[in-house]
Structure formats: structure tokens, C-alpha cells
């Protein structure tokens, strides 16, 4: 039934918005419509994802819990030890130090940067206006071999290395399926600062009442960096609030 719903949504979207005439708002609306509808997206309070993260030849099973309010915890299982590479409790980012195996707070700027985007963890475009974001349609582009609409999503500025910087991501929406197939953003710090990295989305599958990309790959200069394969997503299950808090030593 879900598949039928999806096909119908795609069809309605195709009829309602001839591909050439769409505005940025329509493209985003189309995307939500094609993946379950805006209300279905808005009804998501939490997502618990399990899967495998790959970095080069290494693979790590992971669990990621994300909350609509922005809290998040990612954990990986390594040789019987559970590590939390990153978590966010609504105010503070923290993670396990791999050497000492103890939790440490990340720097205040990292926490503030994460907080600024924390409500995007489920979907960047849901409630984008409430979040103070804006959309701009740019020139169409061929991405992943497929014709795409280009939408620039500008978020609130963030502070990087003590200076306020504009914060935006460019999304490429497949004209045929209406979903993002890639996004691009600029590295904000480190030696690659200013370089563009791509995130490629595929394997859109049901997750509760929405369709969600189950394969997410980051690329830099054409080389694959991290690959995430989500095997299961549970929506709106009971989540223990304690997991987001940094453990006290």
C-alpha cells in the first residue's frame, strides 16, 4: 500500500508541478508529498536507526537515535565496546575519547554549530521557515547522471573559529523522483576549509510513514569518504532521555 501511495504522490506531483515551472517552495513541497506528505514528516518525534558505517575498508555497526527536538546520540560497537563518537543533549556535544574510553565534551563552538542545525536531523526542509531558513532556486544541474533542480537552503549563520559565517547547503532534487539525490556543502574548518564535499542519497525506503534515504555517502574530490547503510529505522519508539546526557566520570 505504501508503494501505491508513493506512486500516486509522484504522479500527482508530476501533474501538479510541470518540472520547468516549479518554484523552490514547490520543489520542496513536491519532495515532501512524494515521500509521505508534510504531516507525516511533522509527526516524527524520534528515529532510531541501525546500520553499518563504512570508512574505507573498515565497517562499523552503528545505532543513531535522533529526536525532532535536536537531541542525538550515535553509538558504534567495536569489539564488544560501545563508543559514542558523538551525541548532543540539546545544548552540548560530547563523545567518547577512543584512547581513554571516557566521555569528553566537545568545544563550545562545535556544540553551538550543531545546535544551530540540530532540528535538521530528521529532515532539513521540515518547518524550514520556522527555523528561520530560506530557499533559493539555482540553475538546474545534472547530478548522478540525472537532471536535477538545484535548491540552496540557507540556514542561520554559525560561528566558526570565532567568526560568524553564513551557513547553507545546496540540494539537488531529482526531477523524476522529486527527492534529493545529492547535497553539497563547504567544509567549515580544518585544512580543507572552503572545499566542497558532496553527500549522495539513495535507497529511499519506508521509515514509518515516510520514505527516507537508507544509503548516504559522503564524497570529497570524487573520492568516497564515509558510507552509511541504514538497515532499520524505527519511528516514534520510546527513547530513554538519559542516553543523550554526557556520562559523568
Amino acid at each position: 500500500m505504501k508503494t501505491i501511495k508513493l506512486l500516486v504522490a509522484l504522479f500527482i506531483a508530476a501533474i501538479a508541478f510541470p518540472t520547468q515551472a516549479q518554484t523552490a517552495e514547490e520543489i520542496v513541497a513536491n519532495y515532501h508529498e512524494a515521500t509521505g506528505g508534510e504531516e507525516a514528516w511533522k509527526s516524527i518525534k524520534s528515529m532510531a536507526m541501525t546500520g553499518v558505517a563504512g570508512m574505507g575498508p573498515q565497517e562499523f555497526p552503528f545505532t543513531q537515535i535522533v529526536m525532532a527536538d535536536g537531541r542525538m546520540q550515535t553509538s558504534i560497537d567495536l569489539q564488544g565496546q560501545k563508543f559514542v563518537p558523538q551525541a548532543f543533549d540539546g545544548e552540548q556535544m560530547w563523545g567518547t575519547n577512543f584512547q581513554t574510553q571516557k566521555a569528553e565534551a566537545m568545544d563550545a563552538e562545535a556544540s553551538a554549530q550543531y545546535k544551530a542545525e540540530s532540528k535538521d536531523v530528521i529532515d532539513s526542509f521540515i518547518r524550514y521557515k520556522e527555523k528561520g531558513y530560506s530557499l533559493k532556486k539555482l540553475e538546474d544541474k545534472t547530478v548522478e547522471g540525472t537532471d536535477c533542480f538545484t535548491i540552496k537552503l540557507t540556514k542561520k549563520p554559525i560561528v566558526v573559529d570565532g567568526k560568524e559565517e553564513e551557513n547553507f547547503t545546496t540540494f539537488y532534487f531529482d526531477k523524476e523522483t522529486f527527492v534529493p539525490v545529492m547535497s553539497e556543502s563547504t567544509a567549515k574548518s580544518g585544512p580543507g576549509k572552503g572545499s566542497t564535499a558532496q553527500t549522495v542519497y539513495s535507497d529511499y525506503l519506508e521509515a514509518g510513514d515516510v520514505y527516507y534515504a537508507h544509503n548516504i555517502i559522503t564524497k570529497f574530490n570524487g573520492q568516497t569518504g564515509q558510507s552509511i547503510k541504514i538497515e532499520k529505522i524505527e519511528v516514534n519508539t520510546d527513547i530513554d532521555d538519559a542516553i543523550f546526557k554526557m556520562p559523568q566520570q
Binding site: 575498508p57 569489539q79 564488544g80 565496546q81 584512547q99 581513554t100 547522471g145 538545484t150 540552496k152 547553507f168
Partner: protein
């Protein structure tokens, strides 16, 4: 429900109608899918810089516009740079930061403005409003060719002025100063002299945006001459925002003027500096005005100021001190007394084009040179190069057959070099070897010996370099009796022979051949050029003599001996002759008249003698030096008697080079001014290859025969390689119609090497390696977006070996497997053990790649092989494989034992916690199991200096990792160690069995008696499957 079916029916109809409407064309981005180029630099010599710009308030941000490598931005005060202009033409004239929105709005005027003979061309004006992530072309400047100035109103970013220098090789009405008041939507030309005189400098008074200075320059280049100066060159000033302009020449020298550089001191805007190129040598030099240009006084005419005005015409004044200024030049000069005297800047690459001072501290400065960006911390006394700008400008490229193959080439003002196509840890600066000085051009390896030929401009030196002995001999052809003096092109042609390894050709106006690697020479042709005296002038430069030899014309430019018949030799000349001999030089025939649609005297840039037929060849003509920017590419199959135009409308700019595939005659690679183009149908359609390949000028292409790599020598982004293009050989319209098509996979070779690289810092460029993984290639006719898709590697019996991330692009996808199987599952412990991260290597043999796409399955087979250069015997290899597997099993058995043990402890603890009466039986079990576990795995400490003594798991894991990573059989000490550890494990198993049969049996009995559910333990198989 019926409704849904109706909708679905309509949807399918819609989709199928779209399908009918689509034609399958052998072109487009989707053809290449995720075939991605590899940019390997090098950056150690970097390349020519045109413009440097700072952010007005953030000293961390610096921009550089480069001659052929695009725009790069530093976010760390000049320590490193990243490219931000990758989708547009890479030749840059001017970068301008909008002072009203400096974080986001930046303008880029394309087309380099230091007008040497080898400059690339621009493609207009561009603007970003998000700091460089997205760029929009500003209409109206499509034909500007070179933009020299962009000035933006300090209070209103919608008001901007653009100076167009314009076409270098032809007249152009596009020259002049333009103004917009609506951010670039509309423009008005506000200053125009004529179609020969363009804007050399456009400067706005930093304190009064209505005051503008524009230096107009009359100039023209041809293939054989350069002229700077004339009656129309002048310096103009406007005080009304460009509405009116007046010449400001009071105190200027009389007579014709050339290029004029102008600068306003930011801290005193009445102080204006101008470096003037004038008719009389004694008048040339720096002029200063202290009244905003009302009158001028000459202060200095030193060489550093007057040298080559067309190439060095930038003055930069310290933002804080009007008396401190720097002038571009051969070495760059700095004055600290208002321009009265100058001294040279510190040691850096020569030919300095632009500078910026740090906005807060004038001791810090950044200089743009012919060899990249340099920075100084002490006012220009000492300079250091930025190490991550791979802007090298190759004129030519060649490859050899070494493994890994080496790449040879010469660079603009940066000598000649060779370097490897891969290197441990990546291709670093230290991997490159210099094999020539001056301007480097062609470097050719000897076909069979460790010898190469390199050269410098005009064949002033032609070196035969012995790579093994590090020994050089100058073997340039010299004038001989009975012949005219030799005319060599600035970029002199050379060629080797596939038939006679010691044969070496060079071209002046004659074709020279040596059969002994250049020790002796014979002329085997008459003058093959037009020998037109009108194109052989000796005085180039105009008002400033510039007889570097760069304009030497009527010369041979390309030589190609047929790979099929050594008697068939092609020669192309820069003045448009296309000559062929079929008898090794006895008789020559000029066949250019047979080329249809080619303007007379168009430069023959490259001839490719084909492997597909004795009379087959390709010719690329380049007319840009006469202002003709069209591509001219032809093919003959009858020794030049007739030629077929193989260009299409897909090509927009001129090309310089073509490379044919050695197997598929229809597969061709074209090096164009705006990048690499590929055709798979003999030129009916061309596709721009843009995957990690910016639109930089590709000057030369070579195809490495063993690897099938396309190696491009670009003039601005170094060497760019498209690895293994063999997949393009089999692309046909039939394949493009299939849902999924697997291409035949080349066997993967498990290269037996291990070494250390990585001597570079994070601020140095390191080129990526191609890797040695096997590549599985398939075509998808549609991008996979919805539903699951995976790619499994299976053995021939269908057992899963590993799963790979499947490529899902429409077009050709490439997925690589590094021959690793799944690593072992290790026992749970407190800390990490190395073996958990070491995957065993697969055995040589046949495998299946199985693509699971939603409900459909597609598969292909491929082979992986052991290294053919290996010294390891089959029995040794088998011993390594078997021992690795044995150790995998030992570790997983241990993991399972520890799992069982942990489950028992958990059950006992749980029982004890809920039933006090069970304490006795439970605690005894817990104590025994805990004691055993402490000998099996590390249970305390951390992963660094708090590490605990290693136990059985860690020791087994370490020896496993050693054996698995090796290619050889395990050594006797390793086998002894394995025996020691497996014996210990056997003992542990015995101990565990005893505990199970005694204490655990008691617990089980207690549980049964008290109706506690029995402990459920997963089977070994299920345990290993669980993640």
C-alpha cells in the same frame, strides 16, 4: 483502490511516453557516470598567478585568481588554499570582493591579463553571492576574453565598474569600461577608445567612489609578433562616477605610450603612482602624483620597474603607508621612500605579477608569481611558497611503460619534470624529479632505455638525460653548411620512434633525425614551412623590445612517425603546412589544401598518426593566435588526400591535441581550451568530461597502454588522469538501452607491496593514487533512488564474500573491491585488538559480482590474480592462506567461548540478584568464569598508556594480523608462537568445559528446580552472523 490503479496506469503511461521521447545518444554527463578524474598536481613548482585579493575586514581570507587553474580561496591567512571556481573556465583576470558584502559576494572576471604568448582565454564575468559555492554568469561579457578590473562601490554593491582589456589576437568592440547600477543585470559602456585599445588597469579611489582611473592600452599579439603601445594608450580619470573622462597626462612623457600601471595609496588618495611604458627608454618608469593625477613627476626608471610591461604592470601600495609600494617584475621591487628607490624582494620564483599586504600587518605579504603564491612574514625579505596549489602549466605530457608508469612533461617557466603515477602514501612533491630548467616543453622517454629527452625554449638546450646515472648531455641540432639558420619554435617539437628505439626527431623549419639518440643529426626535409619573411621579424614587443624568441614563427610544431610504417612521417607547422612523406623524408607533400573548411595558415597544433591504418591520422589545428576560437579537428584515412571534419556542435572552443584509443577507432580524446572532451562514435558526438576535471586548457594527452589511463597535461591544473578508460571502448547504443549492463572486468592484481610514504605536511598537496583494487563496472540506464540496491561479491558457489557500496548513478558506475573479505569477529573485551581491524585477503580465482536492485538480480564474473612479479611460490602462498583462516577460526571460537562465558555470568548474576538462596551456587560459577576470562581477554585499562597486560585474544589477534597482512608463508617463529597460543586456548577450552560440567551444571540444576527458564545460548553460526 480502483482509483489507485488508474493513477498508476496513468503514471506508467506518462513514464513510457517520456521513454519514447528520449533518444539514446552517445553523449552527455551520464555517459561517464562516476568515472572520476584524478588530479595529481604537482604543486611543488605550482603555476602562474594573475591576481591576489584580500577580504576587507577578515585577514584570514585571501583569494587568488590564476592563469589556468581557476580561483582559490584561503581561509587560514594564506597557509593553504582551496579551489572555489571549478565549473567555469579557469583562466582568470580579476577577482573582486564586494566591500558591502565581503563574506558572500565575490566577482570574477575571466581571461588572464599578463598577455604572454601562451595565455589562455576567458569566458566572461561571474558572481557569487554565497562565498563561492555557487556562481552565476553575468550576461554581457561573453566576448570580453580578458577582464582586467572590477571595482565595486564601497557603500552600494549594486554599483560596479568592469574594465575589459579584451581580445589579444584580434580587434574587439567589447573593450572598455562598463558600469552597472543594478548588481550586474544591466550595463552601460562608459569609456571606449577603439577596438585595439583595452583597459589595462581600472582603479577606484578608496575614499571617493566617484573618482576612477582607467589606463587604456593599445596592444596586439600575433603568432609572430607582439606590439605594445601606440597613439591611443592613455591614462584617464573620471570624477563623476564614470559619466565623463579626461586624460591626466600633465608631466607624462611625450610620444606614444604603452601599458600603464596605476595605483592609489589607500592612506592618502592624492598620492597616485603610475608606471609608464613610453616611446623613449629614458622616459620609462615610475611617475608619482601628489595631487590625485593633476600632475606627475618621474621618480625612478630602474630595470625592476620598466621590465616587460605587458607581463608586469601591477603596483600595490601599503594600505597604511603611502610611501611603501611594491611593483611586479622579474623579481619584484619594494620602495619605502615613495618610489624614489627600490630594492628587490626576497628570493622566490621569478616573474612576480601581483601582491597583497595583510590588512592588519604590512610585514605580512602574499605574492603571485609564475611559480605560485609566496608569503612573507618580514616585509618581503624572505619568502616561502604555498605548498598546496597544484597549478602547474604543462605544455606537453608523455608517459612510459614502467610500473607504476611515469609521467614526463615541461612547464611554463618551471622547467621539465617527471614523476610517478602512483607512490606509497600518495604522489608527493618529493616524488617529482627535475630534468630541465627554463621553460620546459616536451619531455620524451626513450622507448627502451632509462633515458629521456628534454628541452628549453627555442631548443636553446636539448638534453639527453640518463636517469640511472643522473648524467646530462646537450644534443640540440645545430646549423650546418648549406642550410639556413635554424628556426625553432618557442615550444620545439621532438619525437621518438616505435620502430627504432634510438631514433630521435626534432623540428626546426627542417625535420632533423638522429639514429643515435642525438649524438649526430641529419636533415631529411626541405624547409617545410611557408618561410614567409613577413612572419620572421626580429623585433617584437612594440615600445619595449621583447625578443625572447617566443614569437619565432614559420617553424615545425608537430612531428608524428606512423606506428605502422616508419617511412610515413607527418609534420605540421605553426604557419599552417601539413606535410607528409611516405619514404622516410625523400619526398614531401603538403596536403593542407585537402582539409575542408580550414582557414589558410592555421597553426597545425598536433598530428596523431594512427595505429589503425598506415594512411590514417588525425590533425588538430588551432587558430586562436589569429583570433579564431573555433575547433578544427580532422581525420584522414588516405595519407591526407582527403580529410573528414570530426568536430560537432558540442565543442565550443579551440582544441590543441587529440589522442586516439589503441583498440577502438571511434574512441577519441580531445584536449580543448576548456578541458577534456571524449567521443565514443568517432566524433559524431563529443561529451565534456567534467568529473573532478575543471575546464582548464588541456594541452596534451597521452594514453598509457598497459593501464589504459588517459593522462592529460593541463595548462593550469597539472596532470589530470582518467584511470582506465577501457570501459568506454564497449559503449554502444544497445548497451545504453539496457537497464543494467556489466562491462567485462579486467582481472584484478593483488599487488604484493607494502611501504611507507606520507612525508608531507597537511599544508602540502598530495596527489591520490589509483589504487590496486579490482574495478567492477556497470551501466545503469536510470539512477537508482528508491528501493534497496547492493553489490555482493560471491564465490562461484554463491557464498557471500563481502558486500560493497553499489554505485547508483545513471551512466557508468565503478565499484572497487580491495580483495578483503570480512574481518574476524573478536571476543568482547575492554580494549581494542589489532586483528579485529585486519581483514583476510581473498584467494586468487574467479568471483561473482551480484547486483541486487530491488527485486531484480544481475551478475557478472571476474577474476583476481596474484602479483605476476611475486617471488612467492604457490605452496608458500597456500600456507599463508591456510594459517590465516586457521587463526580466523581460533579467534572466532574464542569469541564464541567468551560469549558463552559472559552469558553464563549474566545468568548467574541475574539469578543471584533475584534469589538470595542462589548466591552460593551462582557466586562460585561467577568466580571461576571471571578468573578464566581474565586470562582470555583484557578486562581492564584503556587503549593508550593505561593499557593492561595482553591476554590470549590480544596475542592471537596480533599474530593473526601479522600473518594475514603478509603474502609469504608464516615463519617458523610465527608458527611456534601460534602453537603456543593455540595450546593455551586448548587448555582454556578444557577449563571452560570443566566449569560447564561442574559449576554451571549445578546452576542449571538449581534453575530447573526453581522453574527459572534455562539459559538460551545462540549457536556459533548465529553468533557470528549477529552484528
Amino acid at each position: 483502490m480502483k482509483k489507485s490503479y488508474l493513477f498508476i496506469g496513468c503514471l506508467f503511461l506518462l513514464v513510457s511516453l517520456q521513454g519514447v521521447a528520449q533518444e539514446v545518444a552517445l553523449k552527455g554527463k551520464e555517459l561517464f557516470g562516476d568515472i572520476s578524474a584524478r588530479q595529481i598536481g604537482p604543486a611543488l613548482m605550482s603555476g602562474r598567478i594573475i591576481d591576489m585579493e584580500t577580504h576587507p575586514t577578515n585577514a584570514q581570507v585571501i583569494y587568488t585568481g590564476t592563469a589556468g587553474g581557476g580561483v582559490w580561496k584561503s581561509n587560514d591567512g594564506g597557509a593553504s588554499y582551496a579551489p572555489i571556481f571549478e565549473d567555469h573556465i579557469q583562466s582568470i583576470g580579476q577577482v573582486a570582493v564586494d566591500p558591502t558584502d565581503p563574506d558572500q559576494t565575490v566577482w570574477v572576471g575571466t581571461g588572464e591579463i599578463w598577455t604572454r604568448n601562451s595565455v589562455s582565454i576567458g569566458a566572461g564575468l561571474f558572481k557569487t553571492t554565497d562565498g563561492g559555492s555557487n556562481w552565476k554568469e553575468i550576461a554581457g561579457f561573453e566576448n570580453s576574453e580578458r577582464i582586467s578590473g572590477i571595482e565595486i562601490h564601497p557603500k552600494d554593491g549594486n554599483v560596479a565598474y568592469v574594465g575589459v582589456l579584451g581580445a589579444l589576437w584580434s580587434d574587439s568592440d567589447d573593450r572598455g569600461v562598463y558600469k552597472t547600477t543594478d548588481g550586474g543585470d544591466t550595463w552601460k559602456k562608459i569609456l571606449y577608445v577603439d577596438n585595439t585599445t583595452g583597459v589595462a588597469d581600472l582603479i577606484m579611489d578608496p575614499k571617493n567612489p566617484n573618482v576612477l582611473y582607467a589606463s587604456m592600452w593599445e596592444f596586439r599579439r600575433t603568432a609572430w609578433n607582439f606590439n605594445s603601445g601606440g597613439e591611443k594608450s592613455a591614462l584617464y580619470k573620471s570624477t563623476d562616477g564614470g559619466a565623463t573622462w579626461n586624460k591626466i597626462h600633465t608631466g607624462f612623457p611625450a610620444g606614444k605610450l604603452g601599458r600603464i600601471a596605476v595605483a592609489v595609496a589607500p592612506s592618502d588618495t592624492n598620492r597616485i603612482y603610475a608606471v609608464i611604458e613610453s616611446e623613449k627608454d629614458e622616459d620609462k618608469g615610475l611617475y608619482v602624483s601628489n595631487n590625485a593625477g593633476s600632475s606627475w613627476e618621474k621618480t625612478n626608471g630602474d630595470f625592476g620597474l620598466t621590465v616587460r610591461p605587458f607581463y608586469f604592470s601591477r603596483i600595490v601600495v601599503d594600505p597604511k603607508n603611502p610611501d611603501i609600494l611594491i611593483k611586479g617584475g622579474l623579481s619584484g621591487s619594494i620602495s619605502r621612500d615613495g618610489g624614489k628607490t627600490f630594492k628587490a624582494l626576497g628570493n622566490m620564483h621569478s616573474d612576480i605579477h601581483d601582491f597583497v599586504f595583510d590588512i592588519h600587518n604590512s610585514d605580512i605579504m602574499h605574492a603571485g608569481t609564475d611559480g605560485g603564491v609566496y608569503r612573507s612574514w618580514n616585509g618581503g625579505t624572505t619568502m616561502e611558497i604555498v605548498g598546496n596549489l597544484p597549478l602547474s602549466q604543462f605544455y606537453h605530457i608523455s608517459v612510459d611503460n614502467a610500473e607504476p608508469y611515469r609521467i614526463y612533461g615541461g612547464l611554463q617557466d618551471n622547467g621539465s619534470w617527471y614523476g610517478p603515477s602512483s607512490s606509497p602514501g600518495g604522489i608527493e612533491a618529493r616524488d617529482w624529479v627535475r630534468v630541465g630548467v627554463g621553460d620546459g616543453f616536451r619531455v620524451l622517454p626513450h622507448p627502451t632505455k632509462e633515458i629521456l629527452y628534454s628541452e628549453m625554449q627555442g631548443a636553446d638546450n636539448v638534453w639527453r638525460y640518463d636517469m640511472e646515472r643522473n648524467y646530462t648531455k646537450n644534443v640540440k641540432p645545430l646549423p650546418v653548411a648549406g642550410y639556413d639558420d635554424l628556426r625553432f619554435n618557442w615550444n620545439p617539437p621532438m619525437a621518438t620512434s616505435t620502430h627504432q628505439p634510438d631514433r630521435f626527431y626534432m623540428g626546426s623549419q627542417f625535420l632533423h633525425v638522429s639514429e643515435d639518440m642525438g649524438d649526430s643529426w641529419k636533415i631529411i626535409s626541405p624547409d617545410l614551412t611557408t618561410n614567409d619573411p613577413a612572419k620572421q621579424g626580429k623585433n617584437s614587443g612594440g615600445l619595449s623590445a621583447d625578443n625572447s624568441g617566443a614569437e619565432t614563427h614559420t617553424t615545425i610544431f608537430t612531428i608524428a612517425e606512423s606506428p605502422i610504417d616508419e617511412k610515413v612521417i607527418w609534420v605540421g607547422t605553426d604557419d599552417g603546412n601539413l606535410q607528409i612523406t611516405k619514404d622516410g623524408g625523400e619526398n614531401w607533400k603538403n596536403v593542407v589544401a585537402n582539409v575542408p573548411g580550414l582557414p589558410a595558415n592555421t597553426w597545425v597544433y598536433h598530428i596523431e598518426a594512427s595505429v589503425h591504418g598506415k594512411g590514417t591520422a588525425y590533425a588538430v589545428f588551432d587558430g586562436h593566435a589569429s583570433g579564431d576560437m573555433k575547433p578544427y579537428v580532422y581525420k584522414t584515412t588516405d595519407y591526407g588526400a582527403s580529410w573528414k571534419d570530426i568536430t560537432s556542435d558540442d565543442l565550443t572552443l579551440f582544441a590543441r591535441n587529440i589522442q586516439e584509443d589503441y583498440e577502438n577507432e571511434n574512441l577519441l580524446f580531445l584536449g580543448a581550451e576548456d578541458g577534456l572532451y571524449i567521443t565514443v562514435d568517432g566524433g559524431a558526438n563529443w561529451s565534456h568530461f567534467t568529473n573532478n576535471f575543471p575546464p582548464t586548457a588541456v594541452h596534451f594527452i597521452d594514453l598509457q597502454k598497459q593501464t589504459n589511463d588517459i593522462v592529460c597535461g593541463t595548462h593550469g591544473r597539472g596532470v589530470i588522469i582518467v584511470d582506465d578508460i577501457s570501459v568506454l571502448r564497449s559503449v554502444t547504443p544497445e548497451i545504453l538501452e539496457k537497464k543494467v549492463h556489466f562491462f567485462d572486468a579486467k582481472p584484478g592484481i593483488m599487488v604484493e607491496e607494502g611501504g611507507f610514504g606520507g612525508g608531507s605536511t597537511e599544508l602540502q598537496f598530495v596527489g591520490p593514487n589509483p589504487g590496486t583494487s579490482v574495478a567492477i563496472k556497470y551501466y545503469l540506464n536510470k539512477r537508482h533512488t528508491f528501493g534497496k540496491m547492493s553489490l555482493e561479491i560471491q564465490d562461484m558457489d554463491g557464498n557471500l564474500i563481502t558486500e560493497l557500496g553499489a554505485g547508483k548513478s545513471k551512466g557508468i558506475n565503478i565499484v572497487r573491491w580491495n580483495y578483503s573479505e570480512k574481518p574476524p569477529k573478536l571476543a568482547a573485551a575492554k580494549t581494542f585488538a589489532l586483528g579485529g581491524f585486519t581483514a583476510p585477503r581473498a584467494k586468487a580465482g574467479m568471483y561473482k559480482a551480484v547486483l541486487k536492485k530491488s527485486k531484480d538480480t544481475y551478475e557478472t564474473t571476474f577474476e583476481i590474480k596474484n602479483d605476476p612479479n611475486s617471488f612467492i611460490s604457490s605452496p608458500e602462498r597456500k600456507a599463508q592462506y591456510d594459517t590465516t583462516r586457521d587463526l580466523m577460526k581460533e579467534q572466532e571460537d574464542l569469541a564464541y567461548l567468551v560469549y558463552e562465558l559472559d552469558e553464563m555470568v549474566k545468568a548467574a548474576t541475574s539469578l543471584k540478584d533475584t534469589d538470595a538462596k542462589a548466591t552460593k551456587v551462582a557466586q562460585a560459577l561467577i568466580d571461576e568464569l571471571t578468573a578464566l576470562k581474565e586470562t582470555l581477554v583484557v578486562t581492564t585499562g584503556d587503549n593508550y598508556v593505561g593499557t593492561a597486560p595482553l591476554q590470549l585474544r590480544e596475542k592471537l589477534s596480533a599474530i593473526y594480523a601479522d600473518v594475514a597482512a603478509n603474502f609469504e608463508a608464516p615463519s617458523q617463529p610465527q608458527l611456534d608462537n601460534i602453537k603456543l597460543l593455540t595450546d593455551r586456548f586448548d587448555d582454556a577450552k578444557t577449563d571452560f568445559a570443566k566449569i560447564k560440567s561442574k559449576q554451571f551444571a549445578k546452576l542449571e540444576k538449581y534453575m530447573a528446580k526453581n522453574n527459572v527458564p534455562a539459559l538460551s545460548i545462540d549457536s556459533l553460526e548465529d553468533f557470528l552472523k549477529a552484528k
